[in-house]
Symmetry: C2
Subunit: 187 residues, 2 copies
């Protein structure tokens, strides 16, 4: 039937995985980036499955905003994993723990050269870019029972429908609903 | 604590209920209103609970677009229920089966005068207006495993956070995930 989607310039893509929380109306943060509503919900959620998810990840892709947030944490959250940052602005040598890439093409080539197998794609804009390019194979969305009314959206425009296969749904603490999907290409 | 929210001009609101399907990226229809993706998913969904939901409804609120779609159906879908249409354009006497209201204030007054108890709020714009006014007490959202990338959004801007209580989640056929919420005021 259809050809499996491949990364630019390679015959075999890595597997891109999203693990993200959103309000019921589809925002990952308030307009100014605050996630106060998520932090308070996560405290009551119990085991969200993040530890199990991240244990299977060898590489992480993020945008500049997510990187700048991550570097403020008490400890670097991705010790032992390759971290590739997609940014047109960030100086290339800014941080030994990351590689900086100017375009998604360059980033995908680098991930492939690294031998990346399972890539965590983090941050709204990078998730949207990877989805539009067909580079996401797994999508776990945890929905917080809250309407924010405005904010930074999880999803963006796409050039075409993306059909998903539902894999699992479970209800966490605080009424969080976590659903996992794969893209049809990987089913 | 806080005052229960009341309808404009009344001491006791009816209960507003939403029962709606959306793509995972939050659209209720394609940009031109088509719901082909939903119809094909619904055919495989099995019992969506709609019949049970609608059996408990005495009144329906919709916008002009939803009304104009409903009148094209082979049979009028709301026989035996009051139907109030919110529209600035629709002629008031256009259809004996409906009442037409120019403003949400007038519509809420009429519903209250009718003695409406449990009101089905249908259609994107009307849902958004009722949510912003605090007139929704129950929200059942069925998520289709699909990203449309563009379309008519289920949710819109809100003047403040709306906290929800998660009530139930179940997985239907074709990977549809149905979650029910109540607004905290009604918990």
């Amino acid at each position: 039937m259809t050809q499996p989607q491949t990364s630019p310039g390679t015959g075999r893509p890595f597997s891109g995985a999203v693990f993200v929380a959103t309000s019921l109306d589809g925002y990952i943060a308030r307009p100014d980036g605050r996630i106060d509503w998520l932090i308070s919900a996560a405290e009551e959620a119990g085991d969200t499955g993040y530890e199990q998810f991240i244990a299977g990840i060898d590489s992480v892709v993020m945008g500049r905003k997510t990187y700048e947030q991550a570097r403020t944490f008490d400890s670097w959250p991705h010790e032992g994993r390759r971290v590739a940052v997609l940014s047109t602005r960030l100086p290339v040598g800014i941080d030994q723990r990351i590689s900086v890439h100017r375009t998604i093409f360059e980033l995908v080539e680098a991930l492939t050269a690294f031998g990346a197998a399972r890539v965590y794609v983090d941050g709204g804009q990078v998730i949207q870019t990877f989805l539009a390019e067909g580079l996401i194979q797994e999508l776990t969305v945890t929905t917080v029972p809250l309407l924010l009314g405005r904010g930074l959206p999880l999803f963006g425009q796409l050039p075409h429908d993306v059909t998903l296969m539902h894999r699992q749904t479970r209800v966490l603490g605080a009424g969080l609903v976590q659903s996992s999907y794969t893209t049809s290409e990987s089913s």
